[in-house]
C-alpha cells in the first residue's frame, strides 16, 4: 500500500495535539494501539484520520482500555514495528503496569502524554501528576513547553528510542490544554526531511524474524532479575544522554532549532532563578525579562529531559546562582516536591550553596499568572538580600483559603 505525502505550510498554526499527530504521520508509525482520553484524544484521532485518508501506511488498533493500548504497543514493538500512542491522566495511570513491561523488555515505543491531573476529585485539566507518576518506570521522558517543542521532540524521541544502543521507550510530555489545545505557529519540516531525520525503522530481536527466534517477556527470579534492572539503569545513566545530545545536534543542523537537556535563560549572571517545566517555563521567561528591566537579575531554568535526569547539566545551569525556586505542578503528598529534591541532590556536593525553596502550583489546571511569578521572583530577591530563606521551604501558589506552607 502506497501513501500520499502532504504539503505543509512553512509555519502552520497547530495546537500541541495536532503537532504530535503530524509528527506521527511524518514518522510513518506502523502501529498505534490506543484508547483515547482527554486531553490527548486528538493525537490518536489525528493518526487514525491520516491513516484512513491514505497518508500513512500503518495500522490503528482499537482496544478496550489503556492497559490494553500499551499492551498492544508492546506486542507490535516486539514484533518489529515503529510504534506510538498517546494518553493522559487516568489512562496513563492504568498503563503504568505495562509501562514497566515496555521499558524492561527494551522496546522502543513513543508515548505522547498530554499531562493532566489525577483523580480524585476528577479533573480534565493540566498538571504534572501523570508525568511524575511515570518517572521511575524506566522510560525516557522529554518535556515540551509549547506546540513547536511537541512536534520537534517527537522526532527526537523516535531517533533516540529506536537507536540500537538505547532500545528504551520514550515519553513526550506536553501540558494538557495549555499546550495540547493551544494553537501557535509551528515551523514544519517537509515529509522527506522529517522521515529522513529519523530514518527507516531498524528492527532488533524482532519476533517476526523467523530465522532468529527470540523470547520476549521472560521470567527471571533472584538469579537474573537484578542484572537486567541494573543494565537498564546503566543504559539510562550512561548511554541515553549522549544519544539525546547527538539527536539534538543533528536536529539543529536540520531545522536550526536548538534544544538542550536543561534549558537556561538569562542564567549567565543571574542572582535568582525559577526551575520549572512545561508552559510555565515560557511564562517565567517573560516575567524574568520584566524583572531584569527593574534591576533584578532573574533567570529561568527549564528541565527538558526529566528521565534520565541531567544531573550534572542541572548543577552547571545553576552554578553560582544565589536563590532558587523549584516549582512542582504535582502534589508531593507528604514530601518536598520532586524538583526540590532533585535540585538539592544535584547541588549538594558542589560549591553552589544557593538558597533553595520549593513551591507547589497549578494543580488541576489552576492558572499560573505573571503576577504570581512577579511575587515569586520578589520573594527570592528578599531571600538573597537576607542571606537566608525567609519563608517556609514549601509554599503553595494560587490556592484559595489560608496561606499554606510547610517545612
Amino acid at each position: 500500500m502506497a501513501f500520499d505525502k502532504m504539503e505543509l505550510q512553512k509555519i502552520e498554526v497547530w495546537d500541541g495535539n495536532r503537532a504530535a499527530a503530524q509528527a506521527l504521520r511524518q514518522s510513518q508509525v506502523d502501529v498505534v494501539a490506543a484508547y483515547p482520553i482527554t486531553p490527548s484524544t486528538p493525537i490518536v484521532e489525528g493518526y487514525a484520520k491520516f491513516l484512513a485518508d491514505g497518508y500513512i501506511e500503518g495500522e490503528y488498533v482499537m482496544v478496550e482500555s489503556e492497559h490494553a493500548a500499551m499492551s498492544g504497543c508492546v506486542g507490535a514493538a516486539a514484533a518489529g514495528g515503529r510504534v506510538a500512542t498517546a494518553t493522559s491522566s487516568q489512562g496513563f495511570a492504568l498503563m503504568v503496569e505495562v509501562l514497566y513491561q515496555a521499558s524492561g523488555m527494551r522496546l522502543p515505543i513513543v508515548l505522547n502524554v498530554a499531562n493532566r491531573a489525577l483523580a480524585a476529585p476528577l479533573n480534565v485539566n493540566g498538571d504534572h501528576s501523570d508525568m511524575y507518576l511515570g518517572r521511575d518506570s524506566g522510560w525516557i521522558q522529554l518535556d515540551a513547553f509549547c506546540p513547536q517543542d511537541v512536534y520537534d521532540l517527537n522526532f527526537i524521541a523516535f531517533k533516540v528510542s529506536e537507536d540500537h544502543d538505547v532500545r528504551l521507550p520514550c515519553m513526550v510530555h506536553q501540558d494538557g490544554f495549555m499546550t495540547s489545545h493551544t494553537a501557535q505557529g509551528v515551523h514544519t519540516l517537509t515529509d522527506d526531511e522529517a522521515y529522513g531525520f529519523i530514518g527507516e525503522y531498524k528492527p532488533m530481536n524482532d519476533m517476526l524474524d523467523f530465522e532468529h527466534p527470540v523470547t520476549h517477556g521472560v521470567q527471571t527470579e533472584e538469579d537474573w532479575h537484578f542484572e537486567h534492572k541494573a543494565r537498564q539503569h546503566n543504559d539510562l545513566m550512561v548511554k541515553v544522554i549522549p544519544k539525546i545530545q547527538a539527536a539534538f545536534d543533528d536536529f539543529e543542523k536540520l531545522s536550526g532549532r536548538k534544544y538542550n537537556m536543561v534549558e537556561s535563560y538569562d542564567m549567565s549572571d543571574a542572582d535568582i532563578c525559577v526551575v520549572c517545566m512545561g508552559t510555565s517555563v515560557e511564562t517565567a521567561r517573560e516575567v524574568a525579562t520584566e524583572m531584569r528591566a527593574k534591576g533584578i537579575k532573574a533567570g529561568v531554568v527549564g528541565i527538558r529531559v526529566i528521565r534520565p535526569i541531567p544531573f550534572f547539566e542541572i548543577a552547571e545551569a545553576l552554578k553560582g546562582v544565589k536563590a532558587i525556586a523549584a516549582l512542582d505542578r504535582s502534589s508531593p503528598n507528604g514530601a518536598a516536591g520532586m524538583l526540590f529534591n532533585e535540585i538539592a541532590g544535584c547541588l549538594f556536593n558542589t560549591d553552589t550553596k544557593a538558597l533553595l525553596s520549593g513551591y507547589v502550583y497549578g494543580l488541576g489546571g489552576r492558572d499560573l499568572t505573571k503576577a504570581h511569578l512577579v511575587s515569586l521572583f520578589t520573594e527570592l530577591q528578599k531571600n538573597v538580600d537576607a542571606g537566608k530563606v525567609t519563608t517556609p521551604l514549601q509554599q503553595f501558589i494560587g490556592v484559595r483559603g489560608p496561606k499554606l506552607s510547610f517545612l
Partner: protein, 185 residues
C-alpha cells in the same frame, strides 16, 4: 500585544473562530496564540476562547487576560455572565444581539460608557449558512471595527482555512462575513 476574549457557548464555534483568526494573522508574519477554557465541556455550556497576537514570539501562557477586544457570540451571555471581567479602560466590545447598541447598553448598565458595537451574528448565520454558527460573522464585524485587514484579503484567507468544506458552505460563510462587516454598528 493584541488580546481578544471570546464569550460563547460550547458548540457555537468560538474555538474554531479563534483558531481561524490566528491562522489568518499568522500568514502575515505575526505571532499568534489561540486557546480556550472548556470547563465541563458540555454542548451549550458557557465557555471562553482567547487570542493573543504579537510581533514577537508569544511566551505568556497564563490564562489571565485583560482583553483589548471582547467578542460575545451568544446573545444571552451578556446577561448571564460578566463579559466585562478584567476589562481595560479602552476594551472594545462586539456583541451579537437583535437589539440596537443603545437598547443593549440600557438593558445592561455594566456596558455604559464602554465602547460597544453590536451585530446580529445569529440572524446573519441563520440566513446565510442556515445554522446558528455565529463565529465567522463575528470575524467580519471584527475586521470592520479593528480595520485589521482589508475585507477582501480576509475573505480570501478564510476561504483557504475553510478549505475542505463544500463550496456552498464556503460561499455562505463569505456572505456571512461580508454582511456582518456591513451591518455592525
Amino acid at each position: 500585544m493584541l488580546e481578544i476574549r471570546w464569550h460563547s457557548r460550547a458548540g457555537q464555534g468560538a474555538v474554531t473562530g479563534a483558531k481561524g483568526l490566528a491562522d489568518v494573522i499568522s500568514t502575515t508574519g505575526k505571532h499568534v496564540q489561540a486557546f480556550a477554557f472548556y470547563g465541563s465541556a458540555k454542548r451549550g455550556a458557557a465557555m471562553m476562547a482567547f487570542n493573543r497576537v504579537d510581533d514577537k514570539v508569544i511566551m505568556n501562557h497564563e490564562k489571565y487576560m485583560e482583553p483589548d477586544f471582547v467578542f460575545v457570540i451568544d446573545p444571552a451571555l451578556v446577561f448571564t455572565s460578566d463579559v466585562t471581567v478584567n476589562h481595560k479602560e479602552n476594551t472594545i466590545y462586539i456583541i451579537t444581539t437583535h437589539m440596537s447598541t443603545e437598547e443593549l447598553v440600557a438593558s445592561q448598565p455594566k456596558l455604559a460608557g464602554k465602547k460597544v458595537y453590536t451585530v446580529d451574528c445569529i440572524k446573519i448565520a441563520q440566513e446565510t449558512i442556515g445554522r446558528a454558527i455565529p463565529n465567522t460573522p463575528m470575524l467580519g464585524a471584527f475586521m470592520k471595527i479593528s480595520g485589521m485587514y482589508d475585507i477582501e484579503f480576509f475573505k480570501e484567507s478564510m476561504k483557504r482555512i475553510l478549505g475542505k468544506l463544500p463550496q456552498k458552505i464556503i460561499d455562505a460563510n463569505m456572505l456571512a462575513i461580508q454582511r456582518a462587516f456591513d451591518e455592525v454598528k
